[in-house]
């Protein structure tokens, strides 16, 4: 990493950026002991409230906290406005793309994206071909991962259009910050985020099957042992809807019902938090105990809305990601507001040659990988790891993409050694219903290990509160 990362708070001369000045002055006045005590207080509260995630493969009941950092990530209004515009544009194009793929496939006919890239993708669901969904919306909830490069430019790192998670941390982090440091909120005009569940519910109701005037919305979870269970329970409670498991639902006469103490009750919209593969054992994985037999029949008959729709994975796959800017141009006739990270597609001969010659500088990702697994970070890798990836790439080039090693921007973070810069990213949540809306900010994830670029909670990542300042 030759370049110096962009510091969100501090300029190279040591002074603070304009939007951070007030906070930096406050931070200077805080004794380290007070910060440490506040952090301990936050941990105790998170434990008591049970804001935890389950750890797979450990003894029953193993639950961990996602570390919360008490230094907020602050965005000035003008930067947010630009980001917001770019995100809305991107999600509109992605929804148009998914609709097109499951209908006329104009983008393939026009030769913008090679047809086999889409139709041979394991995330493409032929079952969805010709199925009309309300409003033509597929990705009702999108989590778009944004990073800032060394030049200070925002770039999209990844689109998450299946079951993106993390929004509960965005909401709980804000609550925690207001509880720990109320004085900061009287000195800053921080755009509120608490209305997210209201907007989400309104969106979900707006995409109910036609003819349903007062739709019943439920949230479908895999259950209390799922790693994101806290978020499922939290969102269901905040929206005042039932949190259901597959066993609570059944399909009769192409309609979906839930089992209640007063007999079967009709369900109109399912906000599902389980993957496509588990939704309906009659169509997808037959061994799934999490889904609802017959759900797809009801779906294809237009009697139930599933959010996100089945088959959105075809648009957030890493092999499709390089084409998103082309989608924006193709469907919207606009030029992209937020750029992608430059991506080499290893199935292309010339890209592969370049990448194999520059492996120690690059990041190589598995096309279907997630959570920071199946990935090579060249500058941090051993010779053996690089050799392994070289063999993997030559054997199955279509399974990999490569990107330059980004110097992700850093934000001051409270570590055991005091305040120190750590790399961060940002996941705003984009909601599509009658309109496209975003609550200001998103979830900032931070790589807590010094020098680490991996922000995933499964690998030592933490989170921060994210502030959009209404005035600087």
């Amino acid at each position: 990493m030759g370049s110096t990362p962009y510091n969100e708070m501090t300029l190279s001369d040591g002074t603070s950026r304009a939007h951070y000045q007030r906070y930096a002055a406050w931070l200077d006045d805080q004794p380290t002991e007070r910060l440490a005590q506040k952090r301990a207080e936050a941990d105790a509260l998170f434990h008591r409230v049970g804001i935890t995630f389950a750890v797979y493969g450990q003894e029953e009941g193993a639950e961990r906290l996602i570390p919360f950092d008490i230094v907020p990530r602050v965005l000035p209004l003008e930067e947010w406005i630009r980001l917001e515009g770019g995100l809305k544009q991107r999600v509109r194009a992605l929804n148009a793309f998914i609709h097109d793929i499951y209908h006329d496939q104009q983008i393939l006919k026009a030769g913008v994206i090679p047809a086999e890239q889409v139709l041979c993708n394991s995330q493409y669901r032929p079952e969805m071909q010709g199925v009309d969904v309300p409003g033509g919306i597929y990705a009702h909830i999108a989590g778009i991962d944004i990073v800032r490069d060394d030049a200070g430019e925002f770039r999209v790192l990844e689109d998450n259009l299946r079951v993106p998670s993390g929004v509960s941390y965005m909401l709980e982090n804000r609550k925690m910050m207001m509880r720990l440091f109320p004085e900061l909120f009287s000195g800053h005009r921080v755009a509120p985020v608490d209305h997210y569940p209201d907007v989400l519910l309104d969106n979900l109701r707006s995409v109910a099957p036609t003819g349903v005037s007062d739709p019943t919305v439920v949230l479908l979870t895999a259950g209390a042992h799922n790693s994101a269970y806290f978020e499922h329970a939290f969102l269901a409670q905040q929206m005042g809807i039932e949190l259901v498991e597959g066993q609570d639902l059944f399909v009769r006469d192409e309609a979906v019902f839930m089992r209640t103490t007063q007999g079967p009750q009709r369900v109109d919209v399912i906000y599902r938090r389980i993957d496509d593969d588990f939704l309906d054992p009659l169509v997808f994985r037959p061994d799934s105990m999490l889904g609802v037999p017959g759900l797809l029949t009801a779906y294809r008959a237009g009697r139930i809305t599933i959010a996100n729709a089945i088959g959105t994975g075809v648009a957030d796959d890493k092999s499709i990601y390089p084409y998103v800017p082309d989608m924006i141009r193709f469907y919207l006739g606009q030029s992209p507001i937020i750029a992608n990270v430059h991506t080499w597609m290893l199935r292309r001969k010339e890209d592969q040659e370049y990448v194999l010659a520059h492996l120690p500088e690059l990041v190589v990702k598995e096309v279907h990988g997630a959570g920071g697994y199946g990935m090579l970070i060249g500058p941090a890798a051993s010779k053996a790891e690089i050799d392994l990836f070289r063999r993997l790439i030559v054997a199955t080039p279509e399974r990999y993409i490569a990107q330059p090693t980004l110097a992700l921007s850093t934000c001051p973070t409270f570590t055991d050694q005091g305040i120190a810069p750590r790399h961060i990213d940002l996941r705003p949540f984009v909601l599509s219903g009658r309109d496209v809306t975003i609550v200001p900010g998103g979830l900032t994830r931070v790589a807590l290990r010094e020098g680490s670029l991996v922000v995933n909670s499964s690998q030592g990542g933490g989170t921060k509160d994210t502030w959009v300042l209404e005035t600087s």
Binding site: F234, T261, G263
Partner: protein, 315 residues
């Protein structure tokens, strides 16, 4: 509400109530163990109590003899025994976690911190003096849980199912404690030898009835009156009559299309206790009465499960 949600609510409150009942029993026997000259009575009472609660088998796998210290630790802190107090607190919390979105956050946090604290208490090997402290704490957490439930939850179906769970469990517990002491309660037991007042105090304390007894009867403790208080007094919160009344009333509030027979049976149990006299019960024999009562309670629990909590799969 979802059947599964109702099921978790029901079990959540049953487990908390069970933890409290066990804590009361341990507490009463623990106090007895501090008194001189009661060694044999204590051991006997522990044996019959464990028998009535069906804990004997699990206990005998761990210990050869009934030794008060070992029994207290087994009932309170044994994590590998699903019937211990810590296991009940864990089960209550697991049920609550499965429906945390349907609980008020105060109720969830109460149950969650109870479990977190119990876990850390259980991890330390509790020294002798701490057993009394532990069961005292369990009672307090149960009081707190019930208070938070009543003080923060909507009076909707969810609330009624937690109440049904609480009172079914309490009726079961009172009936079992009476069973454990049934030989002391047969008529004539108060003729001849004067029963040891300290023995009675165990039973009464375990049901929070010691002070109540004094207030109601202003008299020496007799088996007949003890049984009357714990079975037929409508104003005694842990009596069989009171518990059945609460179950019946809450069941009426959640009635559905298929629950008529269950409601009728609950009403019948309540009416039987309401209109019977102690003489009638003793005439037929207290052991037989208690045995039948427990069987009817089990039947009621099964019927509630199939009417509301785990309805058969739809065709």
């Amino acid at each position: 509400m979802l059947s599964r949600t109702a099921d978790h609510m029901y079990w959540m409150s049953r487990y908390i109530e069970r933890a409290e009942s066990l804590a009361r029993l341990v507490d009463a026997h623990y106090r007895m163990s501090l008194l001189p000259h009661l060694g044999e009575t204590l051991t006997q009472s522990l044996s019959s109590t464990m028998a009535a609660l069906q804990m004997e088998e699990a206990y005998s796998k761990r210990h050869d003899t009934v030794e008060p210290r070992a029994v207290f630790e087994f009932v309170s802190l044994d994590r590998d025994y699903s019937g211990s107090i810590v296991s009940c607190l864990r089960a209550a919390r697991e049920n609550a976690r499965a429906v945390r979105g349907s609980l008020t956050s105060e109720l969830w946090e109460t149950l969650n911190s109870t479990w977190l604290e119990a876990r850390s208490l259980g991890a330390r090997r509790t020294p002798n003096a701490d057993i009394g402290h532990f069961v005292e704490w369990v009672k307090e957490r149960s009081h707190l849980t019930r208070g938070v439930t009543v003080g923060t939850m909507m009076r909707d179906e969810a609330f009624h199912f937690t109440r049904i769970g609480t009172f079914l469990e309490r009726a079961d517990s009172t009936a079992r404690i009476l069973t454990a002491h049934q030989s002391d309660l047969v008529p004539g037991a108060d003729a001849g030898v004067v029963p040891d007042p300290y023995q009675w105090s165990v039973l009464l304390r375990a049901l929070s009835a010691f002070e109540v007894y004094r207030r109601v009867y202003r008299d020496v403790i007799t088996p007949f009156k003890v049984a009357q208080l714990l079975i037929l007094r409508d104003d005694m919160p842990r009596s069989l009559l009171r518990c059945c009344k609460e179950v019946y009333q809450n069941l009426k509030s959640v009635a559905n299309e298929q629950s008529a027979e269950t409601e009728r049976r609950a009403g019948e149990m309540h009416a039987m206790l309401h209109f019977t006299r102690m003489e009638e019960i003793t005439a037929g024999g207290l052991p037989r009465f208690l045995e039948q009562f427990l069987a009817r309670l089990r039947d009621l629990g099964d019927r509630i499960a199939s009417d509301f909590l785990l309805p058969p799969a739809e065709a």
